[in-house]
Symmetry: C2
Subunit: 127 residues, 2 copies
């Protein structure tokens, strides 16, 4: 089989990953870009997207999205789901995953590699 395209360990990616690790929550590409720019010279926004794509391919980060808001990225060390407030947009990880590994009796021939589960509603302050 073909070589899995190899990926380099550049300074930009190190800085980007450090920001993601330091964050206690999921960040948008723009937020990551801004934070990286605060600890040193700014990097291109496209570079952030490319790095996130590479990290996601490598299984290092996970992405999640809701409504029209931007996609958020965070460490994917262990799978988890989220609870999102429809009013203030607050985002909380769930301790345990309540979804089954794969849907029962679903699309035949489909190989499930993962899932994304988001509960939405209203947080304590917004309800």
């Amino acid at each position: 089989m073909a070589d899995p395209k190899r990926t380099r360990n550049t300074q930009q990616r190190q800085r980007i990953l450090r920001v993601i690790q330091a964050a206690g929550c999921h960040l948008t590409a723009r937020e990551i870009h801004r934070r990286v720019g605060q600890n040193g010279r700014a990097i291109g926004l496209a570079t952030v997207y490319r790095a996130l794509e590479a990290f996601a391919r490598a299984g290092l980060v996970e992405s999640a999205s809701l409504g029209g808001r931007a996609i958020r990225y965070g460490l994917a060390a262990e799978h988890h789901d989220h609870v999102v407030c429809l009013e203030c947009g607050k985002w909380q990880p769930l301790g345990r995953c309540p979804a089954p590994r794969a849907p029962r009796g679903a699309a035949p021939g489909f190989r499930v590699t993962g899932h994304r589960l988001e509960f939405f509603g209203y947080c304590e302050e917004c309800r």
Copy 2:
């Protein structure tokens, strides 16, 4: 308490809803816009978005999103989840919802009004 902002039954919204009902799957705002324009005079794209927002508020339609792709809208008469192919983007509804009504032992004080569950992986042709 204040009157819940009332919503009007305009010709545009009727046409939009008809398109959504006729579709066998979830559509993007742009797709809906195009289809509506095919059975009569075109309507504004912003009107489509406003109608979808109103329908969603009213619980008539549900939205779902994956990755950077556009949000898709479909009838929410009955809740259902999806299976999405990471390669070709194909989108399939699931017959039964495998997720619990609410996460166990999750965010305290959070009122869950719904959820979105997407299984992803590779469809028969793409694996």
